[in-house]
């Protein structure tokens, strides 16, 4: 794709704040969507994979999410700056739920794969004792993750992405108190 180098890139999008330009020429809009995609795609894709499984589906949904962002903006609708990130996660989450309902997601949480990955804990240095401790610790986390319900897992991963409770509630379409409760339960199971 030939990008217009004269079009200034939008401001950086960080976990806490998002910037977006809403009244632009089509090509600018495309570039900005690409910019947002590049900034957030990994986080979105990783969240979807971690909580729904199937990386290929996750990538597909991630792309569809950002295409919807383009449609949203090109139709003249706006998104508050500080809500862009949670908007994207919410759309991605809803798309994933839709696909789960229509059984398009081949696998639900593929924890076995991550278990296998956990067995290959990278060396913590030259200290074998440290490596062993890491392995024990990660095994405990893995066991805890295996105990989580879907909602608990989603809340946990979204919290790890830096979302506050209100944003988690928005993304998952639940109340803030439910988000808090899911997180509390998740922490309890993880701490066992």
């Amino acid at each position: 794709m030939r990008l217009n180098p004269e079009v200034p890139a939008p401001a950086a999008i960080t976990a806490g704040s998002s910037v977006l330009l809403l009244t632009q020429k089509p090509m600018d809009l495309e570039q900005n969507v690409v910019h947002v995609y590049e900034t957030l795609r990994t986080q979105v894709c990783q969240y979807l994979t971690a909580t729904f499984g199937d990386p290929a589906e996750a990538e597909d949904i991630t792309q569809e999410t950002f295409l919807r962002l383009y449609v949203h903006w090109s139709s003249g609708k706006t998104i508050a700056e500080n809500r862009l990130r949670s908007w994207i996660f919410r759309v991605a989450h809803n798309l994933a739920i839709d696909r789960t309902r229509s059984a398009k997601f081949i696998r639900e949480l593929a924890s076995e794969e991550y278990s296998a990955a956990a067995l290959q804990v990278p060396d913590g240095g030259s200290d074998p004792e440290e490596t062993l401790l890491d392995r024990e610790r990660f095994n405990a986390v893995r066991r805890g993750l295996a105990l989580l319900s879907k909602q608990e897992s989603r809340c946990l991963h979204l919290r790890a992405e830096g979302f506050c409770y209100r944003e988690i509630a928005e993304i998952l379409n639940i109340s803030v108190s439910s988000a808090a409760e899911f997180l509390r339960r998740a922490m309890r199971k993880m701490a066992r």
Partner: protein
């Protein structure tokens, strides 16, 4: 003193639960409650330990997430190209941003807020209804922007053209008709092959009877060689294509059926119109300059909606003034190019010969016997070029033109290379029969700048891939490697593959030189060459045959212990002494065939691909056979050429 230690004694019977602590740690507690918990934690070791335990759980999870989970998840980085393509496709089909209903209504309301009075209410309401109806059609009728459509189609073409794993094959039908009654004046079939890996495009043109009448071989750097039967080759650049086809529209077959070329023909297409027709978009362009200076009257490009591929072009041009053209000078004629078939094939499955120049096009444009002097000069010039390696890769062509002169033409990579070649040509440079036209790529591009090829960022090979012969190679190296490291084995396989591919490619380059030599002079005329040039001819054949033999022999030695453990022998070459030039020419062509087969089999067997291991074994026999044949033929040729009195002394004459 008591106040110093008496902190919140009244709160000591209250303890935050784990939910409260988590909310506190996450900064989600209201400020008053957060302050209370903070003070409590200062006082209560039990709760502080609980909070620290929660923090440790969070810490362990985040550590696990960052070190284990995230690295094992897909990065999605390799998908960017695909996303941009989808986005651009969406953008093309998405209506331009229009004022929304709410905005329009708000504007109407703002305008009419104070103005609406009872006497005007009915009229304003009618205007409002009409306005809304117009707005509805405006908002709900998607318009496609021609520039964006062409840009998208062009981007897709670039992605296809630069895909190293694919070869594109298109068949096109070109017709020329009278503007008024559509009477057919000319029909051609165009067969086009494009290699993404090599950047080569071979375009062949056939007449109604299926006879090959012209061809063009172009490279990614823009250099191009056009061959037409009965004419000397035209060496130039594709950048001259647009003015050329307008001056000589019958050469429209040289024009790419693509969005990129359409943009070149129509400029920015800023005022082009797009029609939405079923499965296609049709971009209509009519230049604003309607004077006779502008030959182009109109152009229309059909682009498929599903893959943005240009599939049809129709241009109406003023026929340039030229005798013998039925339409007459200045009369509009309509040219059309329509795609009749399109396929993308894995590069390894395509015979490399489709990219080779056809012998009938390479044949001398002078069917009548050319003068011995010209033939000698042609051979001497070819020999001089060969001495500086300019015959490898067809850098420079040497042909006898219809004017009877020897044309030495080429587009060279650098100025220093041109200087080197001109220096090498010193003995013939001042010969009045020789016309030397060597330009650099930079000069060619300066004449009319072409858009540089866009390097694709998409489609990088991210799949886990191997080579089809991996299993055989792996077994061999595992059995013969002291270390049991699989990395050692992989590294050895990679090194061997690179070496084998290089050797095969080098053999092929020399085989090409041999083929061009054989095509340059008809066998019957070789005997008419002077002794010196005859010797030069034989020396070149011997030298390049030797190179082919060396490389194929090297390949045999490299591969024999692995692929042919039972051993192969090149066999005894037939005696070459006394061979006639016709035999030599036949042998050159056979050697070229063998080297081509060998190169194709090696490219297939040793190039990284996916899921082809099972078929790798089938290539072993093919490689063995073609290696053996190429080595035998090269030895035969070398002996035959040496028997023709080729000696180092004669080579230096």
């Amino acid at each position: 003193m008591q106040s110093r230690f008496n902190c919140f004694r009244k709160d000591r019977d209250w303890h935050p639960d784990e939910g409260d602590l988590l909310l506190y740690l996450d900064g989600e507690q209201p400020s008053r409650k957060a302050a209370r918990i903070r003070l409590h934690l200062e006082a209560c070791w039990a709760c502080r330990v609980g909070a620290e335990k929660t923090s440790q759980t969070i810490s362990s999870f985040m550590d696990y997430r960052n070190r284990i989970l995230l690295p094992s998840l897909p990065s999605a980085a390799e998908h960017r190209g695909g996303f941009e393509g989808k986005l651009h496709a969406l953008a093309v089909q998405t209506p331009d941003n229009r004022p929304s209903w709410s905005t329009m209504l708000a504007r109407v309301r703002a305008w009419g807020g104070n103005a609406l009075r009872a006497p005007l209410a009915a009229g304003v309401a009618a205007v409002l209804v009409l306005g809304l109806a117009v707005a509805a059609s405006y908002v709900w009728s998607p318009t496609v922007n021609a520039q964006r459509l062409l840009a998208q189609a062009s981007a897709m073409e670039d992605a296809h053209d630069n895909n190293p794993n694919l070869v594109l094959h298109r068949s096109l039908r070109m017709e020329k008709r009278k503007y008024g009654d559509k009477q057919l004046l000319l029909r051609r079939r165009i067969d086009l092959w494009h290699s993404g890996a090599r950047g080569i495009t071979a375009r062949r043109v056939y007449d109604d009877s299926g006879k090959l009448v012209a061809g063009e071989w172009s490279e990614r750097n823009g250099s191009s060689a056009v061959y037409e039967t009965g004419a000397r080759p035209e060496i130039g650049t594709r950048s001259r294509m647009i003015p050329k086809v307008l001056d000589s529209p019958d050469d429209l077959w040289e024009y790419d059926l693509s969005a990129g070329s359409f943009e070149g023909l129509t400029g920015t297409a800023a005022h082009a119109r797009v029609d939405n027709q079923g499965n296609d978009f049709v971009v209509h362009y009519e230049p604003r300059d309607r004077t006779e200076n502008n030959r182009l009257l109109s152009a229309a490009l059909t682009v498929r909606k599903d893959d943005f591929r240009a599939v049809a072009l129709e241009v109406t041009v003023r026929e340039p003034e030229s005798p013998g053209i039925p339409a007459g000078p200045g009369t509009p004629v309509v040219y059309s190019i329509v795609e009749s078939s399109f396929e993308q094939r894995p590069a390894r499955e395509v015979n490399p010969q489709v990219f080779q120049t056809d012998a009938e096009l390479l044949a001398s444009p002078l069917p009548a016997k050319q003068g011995d002097a010209a033939a000698d000069l042609q051979m001497e010039t070819t020999y001089l070029l060969d001495q500086v390696g300019a015959t490898l890769g067809q850098e420079v062509t040497v042909t006898v033109g219809a004017d009877g002169k020897l044309h030495v033409e080429g587009v060279l990579a650098t100025e220093s290379r041109r200087a080197q070649i001109i220096k090498a040509l010193a003995p013939v440079r001042h010969n009045p029969v020789a016309v030397i036209n060597l330009i650099t790529v930079a000069e060619a591009l300066q004449r009319k700048r072409v858009e540089p090829a866009v390097a694709t960022t998409a489609g990088t090979q991210a799949e886990s891939a191997s080579i089809p012969l991996f299993d055989q190679l792996s077994q061999y190296f595992e059995a013969n490697t002291a270390s049991d490291s699989s990395l050692d084995v992989r590294a050895k396989i990679q090194r061997l593959s690179e070496q084998v591919l290089e050797d095969s490619g080098e053999a092929m380059r020399h085989a090409w030189v041999l083929k061009r030599l054989a095509n340059a002079i008809p066998p019957a005329e070789i005997g008419n060459l002077s002794e010196t040039t005859h010797n030069q001819y034989l020396c070149m054949v011997a030298a390049h045959a030797q190179k082919v033999g060396e490389r194929t022999g090297k390949l045999r030695l490299e591969l024999a212990p692995i692929l042919f453990p039972d051993g192969i022998s090149p066999g005894m070459a037939e005696e070459g002494s006394g061979a006639t030039p016709a035999d030599l020419t036949v042998a050159v062509r056979q050697l070229f065939e063998a080297a081509s087969q060998n190169d194709a089999a090696i490219q297939y067997g040793f190039s990284v691909t996916t899921g082809q291991a099972a078929q790798g074994a089938a290539k072993v026999q093919e490689i063995q056979h073609s290696l053996l044949q190429a080595e035998q033929l090269s030895k035969w040729l070398r002996q035959a050429a040496n028997a023709g009195n080729c000696s180092p002394e004669s080579q230096r004459k």
